[in-house]
Symmetry: C2
Subunit: 203 residues, 2 copies
DNA sequence: TCAAAGTTTCACACATTTCTGAAAGTACGG
DNA sequence: CCGTACTTTCAGAAATGTGTGAAACTTTGA
């Protein structure tokens, strides 16, 4: 297991290693809310650390022009990759954001926007439909009238209370996640790193 | 916008409300690494707060027996739902874990296991292939021999260093996420809640 | 030991997502 | 302006992921 500080590595070997990295990243893509290809393109740009144009990307990854164009565009939208113009060249080059902390913040921001916020909106909406102010004192069941089976129409107070309690608890959770995430995203610097340090102090 | 503390709600109305909740949850499913149906089944059990058997689930959600069986089974595997036996009844009933904090920990544990850990393993493996101890002092480029274009075979030291730096930075990030998550998962109680409280003290 | 009740499996059908390639669009230099 | 170099779009093809339903399997009570 002793690692020899290998001085040289073959071009081919490096390419194989990069390939392995790219493949691993690609597999994670879908689980992260981006397509496999998008993840691979990003991995390629990230690990190579050299700006590439669409042709280079499509050649290296063996994907179509259309796919390369789409993927690069999405990556730019996510803020994970930036366009680079080279003097005297007409082609557009793309380079990956290389600061991993910045990357994590950008990913988080995007997922917050696409997933958490819409969910929160719906949860609030749903919560409102059974009235009662949001997220406040979770009134304990205080069972009063029970089945109330007058005309097979009304829902018992107990059932409604349970519903509301579940919803409130969920809302609180999602809001907590949201607030936490916003904090990371907002933080100037290495949001996660700060968090990690802080939390390591808790038992 | 003033909310009347509505005393009664029609059965039908409650069903519609539940439906909206279930639909919203279902939409989030894919983004969370579970299928839409699985998310819906969970939402149904969670919001209804009453144990149901497979037939009730398939009836309410209009899904096939096979699908219901699969989804319930996965939910049990994830630990989000538990089987309940009723005295004298032969059918199996299923009920959702109702503590949202426990839920969040279980989801996190599962995703850690399926996504983060394999990724970490591969990253380490990739890192090892260019040797040098892991995650330690990120040696600054210290550019020495540059192109070294002897036989068009070897990779320049500079290129290799860049590669390793990117990889190390990424490893550090993923490890941080991993450690943070492990902490939440491990925490007895409301991991996230504690985190939120703690972090609210940071500026 | 059997029949009834309940659950799981799995080959196939269906739906959704992703990718391709060619055509349309855009912008730049001359 | 026009031609060339490059990029984007998009309809259909391919791949992937999900859902169905019936048959196989398991369990239980008599």
């Amino acid at each position: 297991m002793a690692r020899t500080p290998q001085a040289t590595i073959d071009r081919d070997e490096l390419e194989v290693i990069r390939e392995q990295f790219i493949a691993a990243w690609g597999q994670m893509g879908p689980a992260w809310g981006v397509s496999r290809t998008m993840a691979e393109v990003f991995a390629l740009l990230f690990i190579t650390s050299v700006p590439m144009n669409a042709d280079e990307v499509m050649g290296r990854l063996r994907i179509s022009r259309g796919n390369a164009s789409m993927s690069l565009r999405s990556l730019v939208e996510w803020g994970l990759v930036t366009r680079v113009h080279r003097r005297g060249e007409r082609k557009e080059y793309f380079q990956a954001e290389s600061d991993v902390w910045a990357l994590s913040r950008k990913v988080m921001r995007e997922r917050l926007r696409r997933e958490i916020h819409p969910l929160l909106a719906t949860l609030h909406e749903v919560r409102d439909r059974t009235s009662r102010p949001i997220g406040l004192t979770r009134s304990k069941p205080e069972r009063t009238t029970e089945p109330a089976s007058s005309a097979a129409q009304h829902v018992s107070k107990a059932e409604l209370d349970t519903h509301n309690q579940q919803l409130d608890a969920l809302l609180e959770l999602v809001q907590t996640v949201d607030r936490l995430a916003e904090r990371f995203v907002g933080a100037e610097g290495k949001g996660l790193r700060v968090a990690a340090t802080l939390l390591s102090k808790m038992v």
